[in-house]
Amino acid sequence: MIRLIRSELMKVRTTNVWLVFTIGVLLSAAIMAIIWINVGSSQIDEARIMFAVPEELSPKEKEEWIRTHDLGPILANTAAQIYTSGQFLGILFVMLLGAIVVTNEYHHQTATATFLATPKRTKVIVAKLITAISFAGFYWLVTTVFNGVLGILFFFSEGYDPQLGDWTVIRAVLMNGLAFGLWGILGVALGVLIRNQIGAVITGSVLYVVGSYAIILVYGLIYAFWIKKQWILSSMVIWPSMASQIMVSPEKVYPQSPDWWVGALVLVGYGIVFGTIGTMIARKRDVS
């Protein structure tokens, strides 16, 4: 198994896909970090003005005001956003990498050589899953460190604590890692299900990028005109892109949203189900 993983990692490293993707991931992380730093900075400024203790209050009331107008959660949310700002496009890249790791074999007709070296195809798919997860982990690390440095610089320059010990922040960063890994798995499964390189890339991108907006729109319409029940909106979590948002978001994405762990379970479920279906298909499929 080790040698298969080595071989799969080598396959990615010996083409320029990996270079293109790494540049893409870093570039998008930088752009998103700058956007979130701007958004966060104005949010903090606004909050600071609103939260400023009014002079006319009595000392008792001032104490109460300070207790209820804590800047902490806002700082933590901003920090979580900035530290995970490589996520949205980073995950897209990881999913596409996972898909390409598989579709390349058909696109370039290397499946023959691969399956001749390893006739036990399940092993090949598992090695590809592990490869995708490794790259997901790598990109998560790179974007987190990169955005972390940018974020910490921002907080210091504004004179705030960078919130590194806050559970909201830590959870966001960890969930971000989980999301990277799970989408890597979904990408591999997608590549097995849709062998055509361009088909897989387009399907994956559309599902991921447009997916959550389309779902919110459709569910919004259903809720408004058909079934006016809260659970309709809660059930949006069954779609992978929504599940992913619900899982990683430090706050509720929308009021009826289930807890983050429901999103996590849904994504893990998709990973397992599609990973298994994909593996079974690859085992049976003729290579000709």
Binding site: R3, K11, V17, Q109, T110, L116, T118
Partner: protein, 302 residues
């Protein structure tokens, strides 16, 4: 111990309406080059892919040294293969392509350079696959097949795209490998090349076995008899001398194809008749005649 014998038994593959391979059985012996022949669409590629576990048979089995390909513990050490529609990533160098395979098979990466040397590709080793010519790609395929120094080689039209020198190089390589006791199964359309290369042939048509045996035996034992080609300015005088025992076809240029008599006898007859001869050749039937006879009427693309 793997003895390297390939045994195909009852192998069948059905694609929708088409019985691409139909209850095919044959064995391939080690230490010999076995040619695998058949018209276009006869099912050669499909058969080879089934032997290598790339295509799942509808029925039947194929074993190499008594084991199915997917049960081999170190497949590349035991079997090397070149197949149609097998290729490398266009953006990867030839050397890296081979190293990826080495990594998967657990061979030292330096094996890649050794087989590049063996196949004459050393100078192009660091070139990307997209810059490879057809013949170079074929050589890279051979290089990949040789990585594990296998006892069995299975090649699907390996001469495709090779230049005359390359064809000779491959013929010598395969002959040398067979003489070391390895099993060589090679499909081809080049019948004259096969006659030089193969010890045995397996001929299929319509997915079914049409003939199987030693090349020498198959060629000499055919109903197609020996023919004599004669060129003379006076064909009618020669024919009169030859008598009614023989059958002859003539064409206006004075060329006669005579059957039922040996070349020396034709020469003697010409001398008796005082006829000038410009050409006298005994034509032995060759593999092509055997092939065409065995596959006659079954060559249509399905």
């Amino acid at each position: 111990m793997l003895d390297g014998q390939i045994v195909v038994s009852g192998l069948t593959k059905v694609y929708g309406e088409v019985r691409a391979v139909d209850d095919l059985s044959f064995t391939v012996q080690p230490g010999r080059v076995t040619g695998f022949l058949g018209p276009n669409g006869a099912g050669k590629t499909t058969t080879l892919r089934m032997i290598l576990n790339l295509v799942t048979p509808t029925a039947g089995t194929a074993t190499i040294g008594g084991r199915r390909y997917c049960d081999l513990r170190e497949p590349l050490r035991e079997v090397g293969a070149i197949l149609e529609a097998s290729s490398a990533h266009r953006g990867r160098t030839a050397r890296n392509h081979l190293r990826v395979i080495c990594a998967a098979a657990g061979f030292p990466l330096s094996r890649a350079d050794e087989v590049l040397e063996l196949t004459g590709l050393r100078s192009a080793a660091k070139r990307k696959f997209r810059g490879y010519s057809l013949g170079m790609r074929q050589r890279l395929g051979i290089a990949a097949a040789m990585l594990g120094d296998p006892r069995v080689l299975i090649l699907d039209e390996p001469a495709n795209g090779l230049d005359p020198e390359g064809i000779r190089w491959m013929r010598d390589l395969l002959r040398a490998l067979a003489s070391e006791g390895r099993t060589i199964l090679v499909s081809s359309h080049l019948l004259s090349e096969m006659e030089l290369l193969a010890d045995d042939v397996v001929i299929i048509a319509d997915g079914r076995l049409a003939g199987h045996g030693e090349v020498a035996g198959m060629v000499s034992g055919r109903a197609v008899g020996e023919r004599v080609r004669v060129r003379t300015p006076h064909p009618e005088k020669l024919l009169a001398e030859l008598g009614s025992e023989v059958t002859a076809q003539s064409d206006p240029s004075g060329l006669l194809m005579v059957t039922g008599i040996s070349a020396p006898a034709v020469g003697a007859a010409a001398l008796r008749a005082g006829v000038e001869l410009h050409e006298l050749v005994a034509e032995r039937p060759d593999l092509e005649d055997v092939f065409l006879e065995l596959t006659a009427g079954r060559a249509a693309i399905r």
